[in-house]
Structures are given as structure tokens and as C-alpha cells.
Symmetry: C2
Subunit: 414 residues, 2 copies
Amino acid sequence: MNPGDRVRVERGDSVYEGVLMPSTTAEEVVVKLDGGYNVGIDREGSDVTVFESDVYEVGGAGGEEATSEVAFDEDLPTIALISTGGTIASTVDYRTGAVTAQFTAEDVLRAVPDLAGRANYRGRVVANILSENMTPDVWRELAEAVYEEIEAGADGVVVMHGTDTMQYTASALAFVLDTPVPIVFTGSQRSADRPSSDNVMNAVCSVEAAKADCAEVLVCMHATESDDRCALHRGTRVRKNHTSRRDAFETVGNEPLGHVDYGTEAVTFDREYAPRGGVELAIAPDLETEVELLKFTPGMDEALLDCCAGKAGLVIEGTGLGHVHTDLIPEIESMIDDGTVVVMTSGCLAGRVCDRVYDTGRDLIAAGVVEGEDMLPGTAKVKLMWALANAEAVEETMRTPIAGELTERSVPWT
Amino acid sequence: MNPGDRVRVERGDSVYEGVLMPSTTAEEVVVKLDGGYNVGIDREGSDVTVFESDVYEVGGAGGEEATSEVAFDEDLPTIALISTGGTIASTVDYRTGAVTAQFTAEDVLRAVPDLAGRANYRGRVVANILSENMTPDVWRELAEAVYEEIEAGADGVVVMHGTDTMQYTASALAFVLDTPVPIVFTGSQRSADRPSSDNVMNAVCSVEAAKADCAEVLVCMHATESDDRCALHRGTRVRKNHTSRRDAFETVGNEPLGHVDYGTEAVTFDREYAPRGGVELAIAPDLETEVELLKFTPGMDEALLDCCAGKAGLVIEGTGLGHVHTDLIPEIESMIDDGTVVVMTSGCLAGRVCDRVYDTGRDLIAAGVVEGEDMLPGTAKVKLMWALANAEAVEETMRTPIAGELTERSVPWT
């Protein structure tokens, strides 16, 4: 049996039918169910029947170029579609079986016919994982793939990604890459087999956004519960704010950067953005992975801090303006003295940290804590990973806007 | 020198003037500045001058009854005002010097004259701390104080509390107490010396809410950036969602329970609530403090989980529908096998956890993780502390609404 085969797996009382997927471990069989979800099944004790061999056309693997029979239209821009997995990727994958390293324009158009006539497409698979399994290593691979696609002439990039950690991956690319073209993340909150699926509209709007003028890392997802328009969020300022709604993604503390109207296909921007071609393509892919994020809540055991001692960096999600229980400050100071960079953010999520108003904050600053300004805690973690590996003055870099992740104080705080 | 004295403290280049406060440690002098903030100053190296002795009237300490000269009006309800500290308490404290265990109706009315004629007041100080320093021990003391006041005949209770951790303390009281009268938390985002201070309106609206019909634990704070009305949030569903705005508090995933109009003083409820007198007063103040909350972010070190092994409980703030990296599941399973109750919530904050859709979630359920339904992560932590100390079936209790903290699924998930 081979990836792409249609199989039935029986194990105990359970029966799974679908397309066999490549598996990263020898211990399990991975099957993409017809609903679009992947299931991993213990190989031990499983009975696998191949009842239709290789029914799906599979794109070329590894470095091998997948060949397309869709004619190249020189009047259209070229968009690179990069798949990392998640519900939206299953739209493409389970219909086309394109689970290997590349897929063709035919695969894309067969999966989402509405994409036809909008661009020339180059397809590429960087990973095929649910986004809770994303790691800084995959962020790097993805950044390098995006870099290569732009270098090869892509006029824009669409990254298909699971929604769970999309905001972290988008932030990582925003710090790692200087991009002269749009890099648009999109995903799906409802799989293709559900009537309410958001995958087609999100894919179409993302391609339109990737053709637009804004050369930033964006997240493009439903703006409302209707199929009327997608919002374009800056990758470093966005959060998934609902577990299941299609309009789960929101720009924190501001309006979205822009929108794509699904009816007219118009892309509009309501705020200032970095225009296409404004910077040269560049990549700084190193990330320091010894960075943690701790959320302070009342009654927190100091042992959690101790556990982060010796790390390169720690982001604290504190309370209010950026506080923790006073009793924790000596341990924080000791970590900083030993070389850990500690950045304070707020569990309020919106608003600016200011540790100069109350005693606790002043004590934290005296201990050497870096104020995270108005950065989201998760974005601050990603930025700290990047700054520790790339910046000479890490603390100053953390307080300076690099990719729209923070706004500078309009009035210096004295 | 004694608490209540007006002092000047000089230390190095710094000079602090204000009212001397009681200090919990011998190492520092605590001064309430005229702006309302407390500063703790190292006693060592400090030069303290008392330049006006005991200018403020100080209420009776300890169990001694503070006597009031404001006539009791039998046509008005009696409201217990309980102070725990924070910016709003500084309104009362720094003007009245009422830093000991009780304060009088005169103290209250001198601090906020607008409260006159609305109720008979009983004042009580449970703590005088910034709310980042709140602990489960203080929650218990506060719950017992509230219990005593209601038992003694209070028709409603207003708790003045720092805003940083108000949502946790309000949740704790919601689980610990069965209350036949309203318990209204309020605070202040801007201190009394600032023109934009929200303290008077919040205090007035809280007293009106404490006289109303809704016998729940509520948070009463500015509903908008204007001085037009306060929102009444259910304590278990509220979050401080902005570091500094006056309307920082929001009910997550729903509208507030009600509002207090500042102009007309009308209290209105827009959703179903527990009415006054519906339950008998009762208290279950035990809390299991060996409970942690961990926020999962990509790249999280498994060592943070190991650090929670052996605890009674762990709440995970996962991604999306309630996920963590698959590699962490064996450690979670091992903790559960060793007796830790692990509850999954979502960093999305709004929406319901559902670990039955994707592989990762199913594996988490198989490992014994309890789905936290649509509970806020912080509320889930407080509830787990309470459930572990009071409930026989902890897992079932976590999935059952106790104090409005979760809504049951309208359709059973199959």
C-alpha cells in the first residue's frame, strides 16, 4: 500500500475509510477521512485493506518539479500557494491527494475551481500538520520556502495553515522575512464537507489579497459570520478570539488593516501599510528556541519561574499594566542577573504595559524587566526568539517596532 | 510615628510625602501619596519626618466597632462596603485615613459625598493590597467577611478591589458563597486625583446595583469611555480586556448581564439572573491551592508540565478547540494517572472547548483530560481550586454550571 491509496483500516471496534497519507512514524497509519480530517491509527492491531489503488493523482515528491497542464497566462500575476496543513489544506489534499512536496495548478483548480482565472499558481507543501504541532523549526522551513518562491518571481504568497497557531507562524514570518510582496495566511474554521465551510471564500479572498499592494504578512479570514467579506489582519496583531466561529480572528486593539469584498473582489485598506516593492527580499531565519511564555494568575507557584531559569528568554503575561505578585520579583531579578531576558506583557491583551505607575511595576523595572509596550504576549514570545538570535541590542529591539507588532508611545512616559 | 501620621520620607534622591500606612514587614515604610498610590520604601537608609501627627480620623481597629454619627435611616437598605485595596480603595483611604479594620459611614460619605442618601453603610477593611498580590487566603478572608455582613443583615455588599485580579476574586466568591443578596465588585482604572477618575461613578453605580434584585456576584465598571453608565458583568464571565481604559472590563462571549444608568440611577437587566432571596446564605470556603494554570504556546518546554506533576490540579489554556502539541500528551496522561485533575480551556477565550473533532483532542480525552466547556481559563483555575476542596465528583462538577461560569451544550455532542 502507498500514500494516495484508498484504504479501510479496522482496529478494534473502529473502522476508518479514506486516503492513505504519508506517516512520519512507523507506529501509525494516517488516513485522511472523507470529511477532510486526518486520523492517526496505531499500526499494531490494525487491519488495513487497500480497496482502490492510487485513485488520486499525486504531485511530484521532494525536489522533483510537478508539471502543470494549465496554460501560463502572462497577463496574470503568479501566486505561490504553500500548504502547511490544517483544515483548509485538507480541502486541497483530500480531493487531490496532493500530499507530497509539490502540487500543480490543476490540483489547486480541481480543489477550488473559483480560483481559476485569478492568477498563475505554483503549489508547494512544506508540512502537513495540525497547527498545534507547529514548531519554530517548521516556521524556519516555511520562511525559507516563502523566500524561495518570492525569489523565483512569485508576485504574492498564500500560506494555508491551521487556525490554532496561525498568529504565531504569521508573526514568525513577519520578523524573519523582509518581503516586497504580500504574504497572506489563510485557514478554515469549518471543513470542506460542511455546508458552512469557509474554505472557498477564504482561499479566493487570500489570492486577491496576495495580488494587492500591501507587502506585509497578513491573515485573511472571514470578517463576519456571513460570506460577505474577509478581513486582512496584520500578522503580528491578530488573535484567534473564538474557538469555532468563522469570524474568530480579530485585530487586537484596532480595526483590521483592510478587507476583501467577496462579491466585488475589491481589496481595500483602511490604515497605513507597507506598499509592494518597498523593501528588498531578505531573510534572517535564526530563532532562539530557549524562550518560554508564562501566564501569571493568582496563586501561581514560583516553581514555574524556577523552571525557566537558565533559559535565554521569558515572556510574562502579567496582570493589568504588567504586574505579578510581589513575592515573585526576587526570583525574576535573579533570573535576569543570570542572563535571561524577561519581557513583560499583559493578560488584558489590549492596551500598553506600563510598569512605572505602581510599586510592583517599578520594582519589576528595577529588577531589569523589559516592558513589552503594547505587544500581544504570543507575538512577544516569537519576537524574543527572533531578537535573541539576530539583534545586538535585544532589549532595545524588543521595544522598537519591527513588523507592526507594537506602536510607539505618542508621548514619552516620564 | 504611627499609621495616620502625615510624613515625609527621604531616601537617596527621592522624597515622598503622604500618610503613613501600616506595613506588613519591618523592612519598609509604606506611604500613601497624595495621588492615592502607596509606595513601599526601604526603611534602611530612609529618613522619616513626622510633620503632622494623626491628621486623619482612623476607624476602630481589629474587632472594635467603629461608631458612626450618621443617623440610621430605616427607609434605606443597608449596604456593606468592604475594602480590599487597589486604586478605588485609595479614594476612601487617603482622604479618611481609614486604613484599619473598620471605617464609618462618615468616612465613606466624606470620601464620596455622592453616596449620601442612597443607603445606610457599614464599612470594613479586609486587606489593603494591590490586587496582583491577592491570594486564595485573602479570597477566603473576604468571603468570610462578606458572609458575616450578609448574616448581620446587609441588603447588599460592595467590594472595592484592585482591577488587576478582580475577575479571579469575584469568581472565587461566586463559587464559595451561596448569596441571597447582590455582591458587587468595583474598582477604579484612574485614581481620584485625575480629572478622568472613574471612582465616584463606579462607587455610586455599585451601591445602586447592590440594592437591586440580582443576587449574584457582579463586577460593576464603566460600560463605555463616557460617564454614562456602568455595565454589570457576571463575576465568572468577566475579563479585564484593556490595560488602562475605563471600560476595560467585558463579559466574554456575551453581552453584560445588565447596566446601571448614571443619570437616572436605573438598574436594568438584559439577561436571566438569580433573583434576590432565591437561595439561603451559605459558605464553602475551602480551596485547594495546589492548582496551576499553564498557557500553551508553540515551542513550550515540556519541563513546565513536569513542574506541575504532583499538583492536585492543572488548567491548560490550549489552542483553538483545546489543543496542545501532540508530543506533550504522554506527559499529561502520566500526570493524570498519578492523580492530577487536568482541565482543558482555550486561549481563544470565547467559544467552547471541544476535543472530539480532531486527533489531538481525542488523544487528550483518551488521556483523561476534562473538557472545560466554555469556561474562561482563569475562572476554570479558581473553580478547580474550589471543586477539589468541596466536590465529590470533581470532573463532573467542572463540567456543570455552578455560578454562571459555563453554559451547557444546547445539543449533546455525539
